[in-house]
Amino acid sequence: MSANPTTPIPVTPESEGPKGDGPTAYPRTSTLAKGITSGLRAAMEHDPKVILMGEDIGKLGGVFRVTEGLQKDFGEERVIDTPLAEAGIMGTAIGLALRGYRPVVEIQFDGFVYPAFDHIVSSIAKMRSRSLGHVELPIVVRIPFGGGIGAVEHHSESNEAYFAHTAGLRVVCCSNPQDAHWMIQQAIECRDPVIFYEPKRRYWDKGEIAGEPSRGLFEAAVVRPGTDVTVLCYGPMVRTCLQAAQAAEEEDISLEVIDLRSLSPLDTGAIVDSVRKTGRCVVVHEASTFLGLGAEIAALVQQECFFSLEAPVARVGGYNVPYPPSRLEEDFLPDLDRVLDTVDRLMAY
C-alpha cells in the first residue's frame, strides 16, 4: 500500500555510491528516511556484526526504501530478506544476537509487530535479567509508526506504550533527519535492546544532517523555547506542535516545545525543568490517550511540579478507539487546532 512508484526508483547518492564509500559529506540535506539509510550504512561500515533483517528489505529496499541499496553493497548475509513471519524474524534475531551479532530488525508497519510481541517482551526484554547479566541482546527494532498517510487498516498505529511499559527495553523516536541519522547509530551502539520508532508520515521531510549527534540518545530536546505552556511531543507530532507554537505566537502565547526523543527512559529532568518554569503542560501524541505516554508524564509532572502548576496537566491524543478508516484520520489525529484548543483551556486557569 505504500508509495509504490510505477517508474523506476530514482537513483539516490546512497544507492549509487560504491561499496564502503560511506555517507556523503556533512553537513548535508537529507530526507528523514534517507537519514536512517545513511545511518544504517555508517553503522554497518563501523561494525561488521551489524546485520539487517526484515521483509522486503533487500532488492526492494523496504516498502519505505529505508534500506535501499544496502543489500547490494553489504550482501545478502548482512541484509536479510526474511520469510514473512514477524515472530520468526524476532526469534531468530535473538539467536543471532546470542551468537554475537547486532541485528537491526525492520518491522514493515506498526500494526505488524504483534506476532513478534512475545519475543520482544518475554525474551528480548528479560534476557539480561534472567541470565544475571551474562547475556546481552543489543537488538534494534525499527518500527515505522503513526498515521496520516491514508493507509489501510493496521498501517497507522502508535503502539509505543506497550514497549515503554516493558522493563528491559528502551524506546526512542526520531522526528527529523538529523536525529534519524544519528539516533539510529546510537541505538545500534547501545548494549540494551532499543525499540526505534520512525514517524512514517515524516519520512519525506527534509532537513540538515550535521557531522555529529545533537545529544545523547536518551535526552530530550527543547526544539522551541517558550514561557507560557510546555508542549511535550515526539515523532510526527513535533512538527505539528512547532506549527502550533508558531500560530500561538501570533496570539501572544509562548509555547515551549520539547521533543522527548526517548520514551523510555524519559528525560525527566528536561520535562520537570520546563514545567516548573511555565507552570502549564500538555502532552501530545497520536496514540490513544488512555494509559498512553501522556498518562505517565502527567503523573510525573503532578508529582515533581505540584507547586509550580497553574493548570492541570492536559493530554491531546488519539481517541480511545481502533484507528479509524483513513477518511476519518484527520478527525482522529491531533492537529494544530486541537493542540491550541487545549492550550487555550490551560491558559484560562
Partner: protein
C-alpha cells in the same frame, strides 16, 4: 416441530468431532494393538535396543555403525549418565515435596532421549533447552545445582549460557526453537559450517516437546531453518502428554512427518533407547555441521511422572498406560544389554548406584545452601547501561527498607530475616 428421537443418533466418526479413525499406511496397525494411537511407536521407529535389551540387527546400517564405534567406556558412561540423572531428578522431586523447591519438572522416563542426544554434541555445538532438559545439561557439564535455582526461586536461571554452550531454560513453549535457528544462522555467517574441521564445524540443537509442535514459533523455526539451510537439529521429545493433553489433541499426523513439508528430513527414534538416540542424533548433527542443513528427530518416549510437581496425571490418564511404559524403561534395557554382552558387571552397577546416591546427597546439600538474592538485585541486571529509573527505584527501595527498625543501614535490601545465615 419434529419430536427428537428418544435415543441418541450415532455419529459418523469421520464427520464429527471424534479423532479420525484413519492413519496413513503402516500407522494403522498401532491402533489395533494399543489403547491410544501410535502407542508403540510404529514400524518406522528406529531402535537399536529392544525393551528387553536385545540388539536390533535389522536396524539401518548407518546407525548400527555409529553405535559400533562406541567404546565400552562410552557405553558404561551412558549407563552412568542415565542413572545419575534419574537420581538427581528424584532428589529434586523430593526437595520439592519437602518445600525446598517451589516446583520441579521431572524428566523421569526421558533419560535416554536426553543423554543419547546430549552425548552426541561436540564441545562447540550449542543446545537450546526447554525447562526439562536436566539430562542434556548434565551432558554439557552444567552444574545440576544451577538447574535448581529457578525452581527454588532464587533466580530465573542465571547461569552463563556460553560457559557450556547450554542456553537458559526457556519456559515460553517453542520460543527456543527460533532462538536456536537464529544462532545457527549466526554460525553460518561465521563460516563455521562445512569446513571439514571437526573442532570448528558447529551444529545447534533445539529441544522441544510434542505440545510445542502446535506453537506457531515452531513452524516458523522450521521455515527459517529450512530456507536458510541452517545447521540446526530439532529434537522433539514426544513424551505423549502436554500436561493433560495427549498427542491426538496436538497433531493429526505423526510429528516426524512434519519435517518433509518444510523440506528436510524427519525421523522417529525410540526415545527410550539411548543407543538409537545417540546414533540418529550423531548423524543429524554431522549432517548439520557439514552443511546439509536442518533435520527433525522425534524421540518417542513417555513422561513417567507428572508434568510438574503441581500436576496430577491420575485425573487424565490410565495407570495401565504408565505400566506399559514401565516395561520400556531406558535404564533397564541398557543394563540388561551391557550385562549380557559382558560390558559391565554387578560391581560396576553397584558402584554407579553408590555414586548416584552421593550425587543426590551432594546436590541436596548444595541446593539448601543456595543463597537468596538480596532485594536490590532486582534492579541490577535489567539494563546494561545506566538507567535513571533503575537508579531512582533502587534508591527508594533501599531507603524504604532501611526505614524499618532493626534494618541494616548498609544492607539496603529486603533481606531482613538474615537468610544468608
Amino acid at each position: 416441530m419434529t419430536p427428537r428421537s428418544a435415543t441418541r443418533r450415532s455419529r459418523n466418526p469421520t464427520n464429527g468431532l471424534a479423532h479420525p479413525a484413519y492413519l496413513p499406511g503402516s500407522e494403522k496397525e498401532c491402533l489395533v494393538s494399543d489403547a491410544r494411537p501410535w502407542a508403540d511407536g510404529g514400524p518406522d521407529m528406529i531402535q537399536l535396543l529392544t525393551p528387553e535389551g536385545e540388539f536390533v540387527e535389522t536396524a539401518p546400517q548407518e546407525y548400527r555403525d555409529i553405535a559400533a564405534r562406541l567404546s565400552d567406556d562410552d557405553l558404561r558412561g551412558f549407563y552412568r549418565d542415565l542413572v545419575f540423572i534419574r537420581r538427581f531428578d528424584a532428589e529434586a522431586t523430593a526437595l520439592q515435596r519437602q518445600g525446598e523447591l517451589g516446583l520441579w519438572a521431572s524428566l523421569l522416563g526421558q533419560e535416554a532421549a536426553q543423554v543419547g542426544s546430549g552425548r552426541a554434541l561436540r564441545r562447540q555445538d550449542y543446545a537450546f533447552p526447554t525447562y526439562r532438559e536436566h539430562g542434556v545439561a548434565w551432558c554439557r557439564g552444567v552444574d545440576p545445582v544451577n538447574l535448581m535455582g529457578m525452581f527454588r526461586g532464587v533466580n530465573h536461571g542465571g547461569w552463563d549460557p556460553n560457559d557450556k554452550n547450554f542456553h537458559l531454560y526457556t519456559i515460553i513453549i517453542g520460543a527456543q526453537t527460533l532462538h536456536a535457528t537464529g544462532y545457527a544462522m549466526g554460525v553460518q555467517r561465521d563460516g563455521d559450517v562445512g569446513t571439514g574441521d571437526p573442532e570448528r564445524d558447529t551444529a545447534v540443537i533445539a529441544y522441544l516437546g510434542d505440545g510445542a509442535t502446535s506453537q506457531g514459533d515452531v513452524s516458523e523455526a522450521l521455515v527459517f531453518s529450512g530456507v536458510n539451510n541452517s545447521p540446526v537439529v530439532f529434537f522433539c521429545q514426544n513424551n505423549q502428554w502436554a500436561i493433560s493433553e495427549p498427542n491426538e489433541k496436538q497433531t493429526r499426523a505423526p510429528l516426524y512427518h512434519r519435517a518433509r513439508g518444510f523440506g528436510f528430513p524427519g525421523l522417529r527414534v525410540d526415545g527410550n533407547d539411548v543407543l538409537a538416540v545417540y546414533a540418529v542424533t550423531t548423524a543429524a548433527l554431522d549432517a548439520a555441521r557439514s552443511g546439509q542443513g536442518p533435520s527433525f528427530i522425534e524421540a518417542f518416549t513417555y513422561r513417567m511422572g507428572a508434568h510438574t510437581t503441581s500436576d496430577d496425571p491420575t485425573k487424565y490418564r490410565l495407570s495401565a498406560e504408565v505400566e506399559r511404559w514401565k516395561l520400556r524403561d531406558p535404564i533397564e534395557r541398557l543394563k540388561a544389554w551391557l550385562a549380557h554382552m559382558g560390558k559391565a558387571d554387578r560391581a560396576f552397577f553397584d558402584q554407579v548406584a553408590r555414586e548416584a546416591d552421593e550425587l543426590g546427597a551432594d546436590v541436596r546439600a548444595r541446593c539448601l545452601a543456595l543463597t537468596d538474592p538480596v532485594g536490590t538485585d532486582m534492579f541490577e541486571y535489567v539494563y546494561g547501561e545506566p538507567h535513571p529509573v533503575m537508579d531512582a527505584e533502587r534508591e527508594a527501595f533501599t531507603a524504604y527498607q532501611g526505614s524499618f527498625e532493626g534494618a541494616h543501614a548498609e544492607s539496603g535490601a529486603g533481606d531482613l530475616e538474615g537468610s544468608h545465615a
